[in-house]
Amino acid sequence: MTILLLTIVLALAAASLTIKRSVPAMVSFALMMFLLGIFYMTLDAKVLGLFQIFVYTGGIIVLMLFGVTIIGVAFPQAKSRPWSAVAAVLVFVALVALFVRGADKLQLTAGQATEDVHLFAAQFSDFVILFALIGSSLLYGTVKMAGLLKARKKSTAKGERDV
């Protein structure tokens, strides 16, 4: 049952990337996230599953609907990069190899870790550094993008004035 559910999840994920029309792609993406929520419930993480369905899926789909209003009903044609499929396959193989190599060790050490670590007590500083790095890079990207767009807007306005 779980394998069937996860196969459908992967099929819907692939469909959302390959369908050429934006609304069906978004519907398959929403279904994928909904089924993931169901999967979390089967893993005894019921609150996480409900959170995934109601908060995450709901919020993201509203945001994506906003994107659909800009893009239109059909996705535009873009240049394809053949190496990206090869890169994705290579990453999959690397992840599987790494996992198979360390799976036994992970299962052995997992129990010890939960006994010693009380949530973030022992590794709190590591998580703070990680989230600070992510937050600062997001902020940097947003500010940089805003600067670029502002410069572009100014040059466009200047060009219109000259004309």
Binding site: I3, L43, L63, M64, G111, L138, G141, L149
Partner: protein
């Protein structure tokens, strides 16, 4: 079962990576980014269930919040870029800025 579920999570991660690196329009890049983060949440939930690492559920909530914030920030940038230069493919935006 633990191994099989993890392989599916790796598959979802690879699909997301393919979507991000194939350089299509903004919306499909957002889909792919969400897939990447969903794969991470999936791995956290699987390890929490099978290995008893219950602290991973808390991390999963943090990743969900981060993913939602990232989507909101990304869509704002997309809307601004579209308003200024009218492009919906990131590669074209890069060309516009270089000009």
């Amino acid at each position: 079962m633990f191994n099989i579920e993890m392989f599916f999570a790796f598959g979802l991660f690879s699909l997301g990576l393919y979507g991000v690196s194939s350089g299509r329009d903004f919306l499909r890049i957002f889909f792919s980014l969400e897939m990447l983060l969903n794969a991470v949440i999936m791995m956290l939930a699987i390890t929490a269930h099978h290995l008893g690492m219950t602290q991973n559920i808390v991390l999963a909530y943090l990743v969900i919040v981060l993913a939602t914030l990232e989507a909101a920030a990304g869509l704002l940038i997309f809307a601004a870029a579209n308003k200024v230069s009218g492009v919906i493919i990131p590669d074209e935006l890069n060309g516009e800025v270089e000009k």
